[in-house]
């Protein structure tokens, strides 16, 4: 029988909310324009954001198991701001690597590759930045000095990363839905707002149901199951938001495309990480 997780085992909801508010304020202060364009090998890593989060105690999420309930809401605050994912990956203690590629990677950096219930820690001997659909600083890497870390520390780091990643996707989807709703309520067609049209309402209801589910998961110490669902659900919800915003959503000047690309990349990475964590023998479908 699978146990039901309690909403707050160790820390109160207030504490999680307060820390998330701190993260939201930091993310707003250090938000930067989208560095990505088609064909670019771009990274949205933001050193000032990471420094401010370090000062606010962000790295503790990856060290103290009792803080797990804070990770989801804090990740959601970053997602809502369409902020860099680098602080989330930082919880792992190295650049997240799956197979031949790693995120936010550069030559000489520490890498962290989930594998069979442990993390393979290594160092990037080479890192060739790749043009990528998302500004994740993706590089093809070769790794040396690889060792398997299966201790409690690695487990806590991985749990914090999974919770914060799920939260990030929740926040990202919330913001995408907000943008789509705002558009649907202001844009007029057929003599009224788009949001009065039944087909548009039906689509938005599906997106909202997925988004609310993700937001509730973010506040419930989400694990790897939740993250695997979140990748697909965020991609689906943001895809609906793209459809509702029409051609506007398809432009690089409208912010929704950032959520569109990030939800797609996150789905791919979440699935790949889960497969690797489970032993790596299944091909992602």
């Amino acid at each position: 029988m699978r146990s039901m997780t309690s909403v707050t085992d160790h820390v109160g909801a207030d504490e999680a909310g307060q820390f998330a508010a701190t993260v939201a304020a930091i993310a707003a202060r250090h938000s930067q324009p989208d560095p990505w364009q088609p064909g670019a090998a771009a990274s949205d890593a933001t050193p000032s954001l990471e420094a401010a989060l370090d000062e606010a105690g962000w790295p503790e999420l990856g060290r103290d198991e009792a803080l797990l309930p804070l990770a989801g809401p804090a990740g959601a605050a970053l997602g809502r701001a369409f902020a860099s994912l680098a602080p989330v990956d930082g919880l792992l203690g190295g650049a997240l690597k799956v197979g031949t590629v790693a995120r936010y990677a550069s030559a000489g950096c520490v890498t962290a590759e989930p594998h069979a219930g442990a993390v393979l820690a290594g160092r990037a001997r080479t890192a060739d930045a790749a043009a990528y659909t998302d500004a994740l600083g993706v590089a093809a890497v070769t790794v040396t000095d690889e060792r398997r870390v299966a201790d409690d520390e690695a487990r806590v780091r991985f749990a914090a990363w999974a919770a914060a990643s799920t939260g990030y996707l929740a926040g990202l989807s919330e913001e995408a839905l907000r943008l789509a709703l705002e558009h649907a309520q202001s844009r007029r067609a057929f003599g009224g707002p788009l949001s009065a049209l039944e087909p548009v309402q039906q689509m938005l209801a599906d997106a909202a149901t997925l988004v609310d589910g993700l937001s509730l998961l973010a506040g419930d110490s989400p694990g790897l199951d939740a993250l695997v669902h979140a990748g697909e659900a965020a991609e689906h919800a943001v895809g609906i938001c793209m459809q509702v915003t029409g051609a506007l959503g398809f432009t690089t000047e409208f912010p929704l495309q950032r959520a569109y690309r990030r939800s797609r990349s996150s789905h791919a990475w979440a699935d790949a990480v889960a497969v690797a964590w489970d032993g790596g023998r299944e091909a992602p479908s």
Partner: protein
């Protein structure tokens, strides 16, 4: 005070034991969705062993617990494949609605009997020409002194063949300015002269029913809520019905069956994550209902997420396991036929209790503020 983990453990133990005792009942062998199955013995055992009305007041036969504990118990009932239709109608839907809207006298008369597992309700809402458009209902209730005289035709009525009472949506004012303003809710004994039940077999493996009402006399004190004020009662009743927490358990059971049959871990993780989200959407709706706050959009999300998940689970079973997924019985069956049964029955889960399109409309209009 009983904790969530204690009630979950106790409910799990009770449901596993009851499921074993009911295993020989032939009526439910090919009932694909246990939430649609009926067992008088099962319902009586739930009442006798204190599992009905966990959050109802003690003076009405309940245990006075938090309604989130009821939700957790219902999930375990689903997981162990208990035939739950009588329970879901009499307790989760109508019992809870009576607690919200019925007169104290009616509550005292009905709720302790339900809690004891002695009284089964069915729900007469849909009619041949009123389903998703419920306000079009035509079954009439004419006031005649201290009673109503009810005539009409209800359909798709689950559990009418076993029910002792029926919870009826009726039209009391045919002249009302808008259709939903002339609607009321009555409760009537199924043994009343003029009521006739005709079963309709379904692909799910059980039966729905038609209920014919011909000049049925119902005492006026069996009105629930105000005369012509029934629409609010109906909508609130549907809010309770739409938190289908038992289906979270049903899906988790099928996922365990899929795991045992060797389905890939990634897809099981994805569906288990989705089940966690559906569970939390249900908890949110129930918390709102317990506080008597507006819950329509939250309940619709709980319902929509759950019917989507049921279908996706069935689809995954077929996609991952191939033709074997549809074997219903014998050594090749997945989970003793549970997967095949759910796959066959899941088409009903996006129709009963309000079609998914109606859930989406409620979410968009009442939850997102989209104009009508």
């Amino acid at each position: 005070m009983v904790s969530l983990s204690e009630i979950t453990r106790d409910a799990d133990r009770f449901a596993a034991g009851l499921a074993a005792r009911l295993a020989g009942e032939p009526d439910n062998r090919f009932q694909g969705m246990p939430s649609d199955g009926d067992s008088r013995a099962g319902y009586e055992a739930m009442g006798a062993e204190g599992w009905i009305g966990l959050h109802w007041p003690a003076e009405l036969g309940g245990r006075g617990l938090d309604s989130l504990l009821t939700l957790a118990a219902e999930e375990r009932f689903g997981y162990h494949w208990l035939p739950l239709s009588s329970y879901l109608l009499s307790v989760k839907t109508i019992g809870n609605a009576l607690l919200d809207h019925a007169s104290p006298e009616l509550q005292e008369r009905l709720l302790p009997e339900i809690a004891a597992g002695r009284l089964v309700f069915c729900q007469g809402f849909s009619e041949p020409e009123a389903g998703s458009d419920l306000a079009a209902l035509r079954t009439s209730a004419r006031r005649d002194g201290d009673r109503y005289v009810v005539s009409g035709h209800k359909t798709w009525t689950s559990s009418a063949q076993v029910a002792d009472w029926i919870y009826l949506a009726v039209r009391t004012d045919p002249e009302a300015s808008r259709p939903h303003r002339g609607v009321s809710v009555l409760v009537a004994e199924m043994g009343s002269p003029g009521i006739e039940v005709r079963p309709i077999e379904t692909v799910g493996g059980g039966a729905l029913n038609e209920v014919f009402l011909d000049e049925v006399e119902v005492p006026a004190e069996q009105l629930v809520g105000e005369e012509n004020g029934g629409w609010r009662v109906l909508m609130s009743t549907l809010d309770h019905e739409r938190v289908t927490s038992e289906k979270v358990g049903i899906v988790l059971r099928v996922l365990d069956d899929l795991e045992e049959a060797g389905a890939p871990t990634l897809e099981l993780r994805r569906l288990r994550g989705e089940a966690e989200a559906a569970r939390l959407l249900g908890r949110r709706a129930v918390a709102l209902l317990a506080e008597r706050r507006p819950a329509a959009a939250a309940a619709a999300m709980a319902k929509l997420s759950m019917s989507t998940l049921s279908k996706r689970t069935a689809d995954a079973g077929t996609r991952l396991l191939g033709p074997r997924a549809l074997v219903e019985d014998g050594p090749e069956a997945i989970g003793e036929g549970r997967l095949a049964g759910v796959t066959r029955s899941t088409a009903g889960s996006s129709i009963a209790g309000g079609a998914s399109e109606i859930q989406r409309r409620v979410i968009a209009r009442q939850g997102l503020g989209c104009a009508a």
